[in-house]
C-alpha cells in the first residue's frame, strides 16, 4: 500500500467520523438524535416483558421492522417476505404442515405463530435461538426458507431508495445497515404484537368489553384447568396468562414411540444442546389463537384441534424423555366426561383474539 492510499484511507476515516459527529447549524443534530421511545402496553396479569437493553422499542424502529417484515426484499428472488409464512388470518403462522421456502423446498418444521414474543425466553421449536434478534437471522439465510446471504440482503437495503433513511431514523444517522440492525428492527416490530383480547380475556376482565362464556365454553374451561380424574389436565403446560408453560418451556408431550434417539427424525431441543434428557422436547406452544394456527405440533402432524385432543385421549407414547405430567395423567388415556370433548374445543376457541388478527397496525404498510 503506497502513501497516497494511506492518505486517502485516513482522510476517508476522518471524514466519516467528522460527518457523523459534527453538528453545524444547518444540519440535523445527529449527535443528539434519539428515536422516539415506544411504550409497550402490558395487559393486566401479564408479567414484565423481556426486552433487551440494547434494543429498546422506538416508534421509528417498529415502523422499519414492520416494513422489513412485509417486504420480500429479504428473500433470494424477492418473492417471499417474513409475512409469507406468518399471515395475520392464521394467527401469524401458516396453514402448511411445514413451510415452503423460495426454492420450493419444504422445511422440516411447522411455522410458529407470532404473538406475545416479548414474553418468550427462547425461540424456535428446538430453542436454538436465545433471543428474538438471533431467531430473525435464521430464516433469511436458511436455504429452505428465504435463502439470501446477509451480505447480499444488506446491500439490497443499502441501495434501496427508502431504507437508508428509515434505518437512520430508527438507529441514528451513521447506523450500519446490516443483519444485526435489520434483526433488531424486525424484533422491535414483533414485540409489539400483543394478543390479549380474546373472548376469554374479555370474560376474565383482562380486556374490554366484559363478556360471558357460554355454558359449553365454561364447562370446557373447568375441564381445561382441572387436574383430577375426568379432567383434561391442559393447565399443567398451558397456564395463563400466556397459555404456555411458564417454566421449563420445552416438553416431550408423547408424540412418538421411541426407545433409542436414532429412531427419531427430529431430536428437538436435545439435537440442539446435545443433552440426552432433552431429546424429543420441543417448545411448548401457546394455546392463544390456537383455532387459527392449524396444523399443529412442531411437524404439523395434526390437521385439526380434534386430532390434537385425540392424541391426548388415546395416543400418547411414554418415551424416555416424556414429560412427567404426560406420564402421570395421560398414560392410560384421557377420560373426559360426556360432551367433554366438545366443551373443551368450545373453550379453546374462546382464546382466539380477533382484535389482534384484525389489527391493521401489524398489516402490510405497502
Amino acid at each position: 500500500m503506497n502513501k497516497l492510499t494511506y492518505l486517502i484511507l485516513i482522510g476517508g476515516v476522518v471524514f466519516f467520523i467528522y460527518s457523523c459527529k459534527e453538528n453545524d447549524n444547518n444540519g440535523p443534530d445527529i449527535e443528539n438524535y434519539k428515536p422516539t421511545p415506544y411504550e409497550l402496553t402490558i395487559p393486566p396479569t401479564f408479567p414484565q416483558p423481556k426486552i433487551p437493553a440494547d434494543n429498546p422499542l422506538t416508534v421509528e424502529g417498529i415502523s422499519l421492522g414492520r416494513h422489513l417484515f412485509w417486504d420480500p426484499i429479504l428473500s433470494k428472488d424477492s418473492t417471499l417476505a417474513c409475512a409469507g409464512c406468518h399471515a395475520p388470518n392464521l394467527g401469524y403462522g401458516d396453514n402448511l404442515k411445514t413451510s415452503v421456502g423460495v426454492d420450493g423446498i419444504a422445511g422440516k418444521r411447522n411455522s410458529m405463530p407470532l404473538f406475545n414474543l416479548a414474553w418468550s425466553p427462547q425461540f424456535l421449536w428446538d430453542g436454538s435461538a436465545a433471543t428474538l434478534e438471533e431467531q430473525i437471522l435464521n430464516p433469511v439465510r436458511d436455504p429452505v426458507e428465504m435463502h439470501l446471504d446477509w451480505i447480499s440482503a444488506a446491500k439490497r437495503l443499502q441501495n434501496h431508495p427508502d431504507y437508508p433513511t428509515m434505518f437512520a431514523k430508527a438507529f441514528g444517522e451513521c447506523t450500519v445497515i446490516d443483519s444485526t440492525n435489520t434483526a433488531k428492527a424486525i424484533a422491535q416490530f414483533l414485540r409489539t404484537m400483543v394478543s390479549a383480547s380474546s373472548k376469554f380475556d374479555k370474560a376474565s376482565g383482562i380486556s374490554e368489553p366484559k363478556t360471558e362464556l357460554t355454558d359449553s365454553e365454561l364447562n370446557g374451561f373447568v375441564l381445561f384447568i382441572g387436574t383430577a380424574n375426568e379432567d383434561a389436565h391442559c393447565v399443567h403446560c398451558h397456564n395463563k396468562p400466556l397459555f404456555s408453560v411458564t417454566d421449563g418451556y420445552f416438553t416431550n408431550n408423547g408424540l412418538d414411540d421411541w426407545e433409542d434417539p436414532s429412531e427419531l427424525t427430529d431430536l428437538g431441543l436435545g439435537g440442539f444442546n446435545g443433552n440426552p434428557d432433552d431429546i424429543a422436547k420441543f417448545k411448548n406452544a401457546s394455546l392463544r389463537n390456537i383455532e387459527l394456527t392449524a396444523p399443529y405440533m412442531h411437524d404439523g402432524r395434526f390437521q385439526t384441534l380434534d386430532d390434537v385432543l385425540e392424541h391426548y385421549i388415546s395416543g400418547v407414547h411414554l418415551s424416555p424423555t416424556v414429560d412427567f405430567n404426560i406420564k402421570s395423567s395421560f398414560a392410560n388415556g384421557l377420560k373426559l366426561p360426556e360432551n367433554g370433548r366438545e366443551d373443551l374445543l368450545a373453550f379453546l376457541k374462546t382464546l382466539t383474539d380477533w382484535e389482534f388478527v384484525n389489527d391493521t397496525a401489524f398489516y402490510s404498510p405497502f
Partner: protein
C-alpha cells in the same frame, strides 16, 4: 481546633464501628432421602432387598415462609419471609443473609406460602422473586394460590423392582399451611456462610406403614375430590421433615 476535629472524627468512627451488626449467612437446602440414602432426581433407590423401589421425577420444590431462628436464650432472628427450595436447581440454594451471628438451637418455619402472600398474582413481584413470574409454574392461577410443595415421582407398585406407577402431590391451600419448629444446632459466624440442611425421608413419607398408601393415595393436587389425601400428605410432611 485540629485536635478536637480529629477527636470527633475518631468518636464517629468508633460509633459507626460499634453500630455494625455482626452478621452471617445461612444457605438452606432440602435433601430428599430414602432412609439414610440421599435421593437424586431420576435415579431409583433400592429397598432392603436391592430392588428398585422409588424414583423422584418431574418436580420437587417447596416454599418456606416466615423463617425464624431461635437461640438458647429464646432470642429470635427473623431473617427471610419466603424462600423457594428447588431440588432441580441445587446450584441456587437460597441464602438467608444478614442473620445475626450467634448460636441457635432451633428453626421455626412455615411449610408453604403464608396466607398474606398466597393469593397474590405473580406479576406483582419481580420476575425472579420466589413468588414471581419466573416461578409461576408453582402457582394455580385459577385457584388463587401457590403450590406449597410439589413432589413427583414413580415407584414399584408391586414392590418387585419394576418401577411402573407414578405419584404426584401438589399441595397448597391456606388451610394446609403448617408451621413447624425443628431442633437444629446452628452456629452463625460473622461474615461466613453456614449450610443448613433439611431432610425429608420419602421412605417414611411414602413407603412405610403410617405413611401415604400409594395404592389409593398416590395423587393429589389439593382439589376438592382429593383434598383428604392432600391433608394427610401435609400432616405427614410436617412430621417427617427434619
Amino acid at each position: 481546633m485540629k485536635k478536637i476535629s480529629l477527636l470527633l472524627l475518631s468518636c464517629c468512627m468508633l460509633l459507626i464501628a460499634c453500630d455494625k451488626k455482626k452478621e452471617g449467612t445461612i444457605q438452606i437446602k432440602i435433601v430428599p432421602t430414602y432412609g439414610d440414602t440421599v435421593m437424586e432426581m431420576n435415579k431409583a433407590v433400592q429397598d432392603e432387598n436391592g430392588l428398585d423401589i422409588l424414583k423422584l421425577e418431574g418436580k420437587f420444590h417447596m416454599y418456606l415462609s416466615n423463617i425464624k431462628l431461635i437461640g438458647a436464650n429464646s432470642s429470635e432472628a427473623i431473617e427471610e419471609e419466603i424462600v423457594l427450595l428447588d431440588l432441580l436447581d441445587t446450584e441456587h440454594n437460597p441464602s438467608l443473609s444478614k442473620v445475626a451471628a450467634g448460636a441457635y438451637t432451633s428453626i421455626e418455619m412455615g411449610l408453604g406460602v403464608d396466607e398474606k402472600w398466597n393469593h397474590e398474582d405473580p406479576v406483582s413481584f419481580d420476575n425472579d422473586h420466589p413468588l414471581g413470574f419466573d416461578h409461576s409454574g408453582n402457582v394455580w392461577t385459577w385457584d388463587s394460590g401457590f403450590i406449597f410443595y410439589m413432589i413427583e415421582g414413580s415407584y414399584a407398585y408391586n414392590r418387585d423392582g419394576v418401577i411402573d406407577s407414578t405419584f404426584t402431590y401438589h399441595i397448597g391451600k391456606d388451610e394446609l399451611f403448617k408451621t413447624v419448629t425443628l431442633p437444629k444446632n446452628i452456629v452463625v459466624e460473622e461474615d461466613a456462610i453456614t449450610a443448613l440442611e433439611l431432610r425429608l425421608d420419602l421412605k417414611k413419607l411414602l413407603m412405610d406403614e403410617g405413611g401415604m398408601d400409594l395404592t389409593t393415595e398416590s395423587k393429589s393436587r389439593s382439589g376438592e375430590k382429593e383434598f383428604a389425601i392432600a391433608q394427610k400428605f401435609a400432616n405427614l410432611i410436617s412430621e417427617t421433615i427434619e
